[in-house]
Amino acid sequence: MSGTTTTRGAGVARAGPWRRLARHRLAALGLAVLAVLFVAVLAAPLVETVLGLDASAVNLFARAAPPSAAHWLGTDELGRDLLLRLLHGGRVSLLVGFTAAIASAAIGTLLGLISGYFGGRVDAVIMRFADGVISLPLLPLLIVLAAVDPSKLGLPEAISGSESFSLQRIVVIIALVGWPTVARLVRAATLSLRQREFVLVAIAQGFGPARIMFRHILPNAASPILVATTLTVGNVILFESVLSFLGLGIQPPVPSWGNMLTGAQDLISKAPALAVWPGMLIFVTVIAFNLLGDGLQSALDPRSGANR
């Protein structure tokens, strides 16, 4: 909108978080990109019917074919339609991204609340543990975790043999290491909220710690949790793609953007498109989540924008 700098500044301060987010051009762009991606991957079965193709149909006579009228983006190393594989892979990658990020956020929120509310030795133990998890060489360690044979853990074949098992396993693995970022933010928020009058009143009224943490503190810590979760989704998708690429995440034939790139390196001189498309989608999705998270941060907490 037009106007002098001062009136615009006042306008921003008065506008709600949504308006501020919309003004954050990069964040708005990220949100738009994500909306398009969501619609696209949700429409995967529809696209399948419209094009009259099957995403898992192998055609060894049309391997790594260039784009054509039948296959808009060409085919992959087994002659499967690349566009449909990308859409189905996107479903998997986004599903893993969201579930693992929400699981990380749940663990992180709980530990952050406990750490910030009780303080003292509890706080020290949880935070040292969080520091430890962050500082370790995670990828090498996670590779071992991902390579564990589920049947040796006593899991029945019905669970460990199912197609969705690799998906569940990667969510668990990522949640185990993804929580510290959220925990730190929630702890910081809890520490300051704990000193506020309404919390002190609640304590004086004799409510138990659980009620105070979840009823009084948690709702007021929603903004940092939302920001941290958004940023975590992007990181999780990146992590999933690396593990899947290395053959330790989502297992073929279930497609994910990461494992679609596994075979691409060998074919890179013959079919560079196979190496470009899945990676491009990972990149676009992750940067969209990061920009959105950054925008949310400045929209929900106007003070954090002070250094801009």
């Binding site: 990069l26 500082s135 060489p137 990828l139 090498p140 190496a275 990972i282």
Partner: protein
């Protein structure tokens, strides 16, 4: 200070011990077992042979006793043999650790050499178009999947232009350092990309903070040239958090090195650990992982020491009353 370092070293040893136990158990949970792998190609082995071999290797013992035996040998300096390389584990890991450290050190230097000027430039005029451009590039750097960046670099420089080798560490028969550098360019670019983005943001944030300080205003007021104010007076203090973050970040540098080394067949620790896990080389994987963890823990201690050394205001003391 000495007390602080000793305490931290003690804590790190404890972490390492716990990690060795966890990894030992996890490796036991991986598919297959050493005897199956040993006899897999021999059709004449009977069940009695298997039992005898298991007893010989101590695999019929309970897990805790096996771990205790391993620990005892390890503390005596015997880390066992690598199955894939048929050599003592340390003989395999030694040169590979060196290769990794070279790759990581060069990448770190490259990343800082780009990030410090970029961060300073962005911080001098926050909100300017160059600041926004640098900000966008940082977002790109932290969002790009490292293995995909490697694929694109291979596609561009090795396949299309044919200018640089796609993988390996040197041409057989060539010994010059130019040859080694050619093989190093793409891995270093891949590994430093994420670092550049992260460090630039930290340099920028720290620099903005420092440029507001009174002593910077004083320096400007007494007529010190702006370049000198920024590069001498401000940078020295702004680098403090950056150095710490770089050292604390050692774990993720290791993670990045694993991907980079695997992509470019760089014979380093990361690739070795990956190959060991994929090839059921339990001894090699265990010791490799412990070495990686140990080095990371030491880097973290060095980060704390560097922090105190760079900032004379910070003194580490052993807790009062302890």
């Amino acid at each position: 200070m000495t007390g602080f370092v000793l305490t931290r070293l003690g804590q790190s040893m404890l972490v390492l011990l716990v990690m060795s136990f966890i990894i030992y158990i996890l490796l036991g949970l991986m598919p297959g077992d050493p005897i199956d792998l040993m006899i897999g190609t021999d059709p004449n082995v009977t069940a009695a042979d298997v039992a005898r071999l298991k007893a010989l290797q101590g695999l019929d013992q309970p897990l805790l006793e096996r771990y205790a035996a391993w620990l005892e040998n390890a503390l005596a300096g015997d880390f066992g043999y690598s199955r894939l390389f048929a050599k003592p584990v340390l003989e395999v890991l030694g040169p590979r650790l060196w290769n990794s450290l070279i790759l990581m050190a060069i990448s770190l230097v490259v990343a800082l050499a780009i990030a410090i000027p970029a961060g300073i430039h962005a911080a001098r005029k926050p909100g300017s178009w160059t600041d926004q451009l640098i900000n966008l590039l940082c977002f790109t750097g932290i969002s790009v999947p490292p293995f995909w960046l490697a694929l694109l670099l291979i596609l561009l420089f090795a396949v299309s232009l044919g200018a640089l080798p796609a993988s390996g560490m040197g041409t057989i028969g060539e010994d010059g350092w130019m040859d080694r550098v050619r093989y190093m360019i793409l891995p270093v670019l891949t590994l430093s990309a994420a670092g550049v983005a992260g460090y630039t943001r930290h340099v920028r944030a720290a620099m903005i903070e420092v440029l507001r300080e009174d002593y910077v205003r004083t320096a400007r007021a007494k007529g010190v040239p702006e370049t000198r104010v920024v590069w001498r007076h401000a940078l020295r203090n702004a680098l403090l958090p950056v150095v710490t973050i770089a050292a604390l970040d050692f774990g993720s540098l290791f993670s990045g090195a694993l991907v980079t080394e695997t992509m470019f067949s760089w014979l380093g620790m990361g690739k070795t650990i990956y190959d060991a896990v994929m090839g059921n080389d339990y001894n090699l994987a265990l010791v490799g992982l412990l070495l990686a963890t140990g080095i990371t823990l030491i880097a973290n201690i060095l980060a704390d020491i560097a922090y105190a050394w760079l900032d004379p205001r910070i003194h580490y003391r052993v807790e009062r009353g302890a």
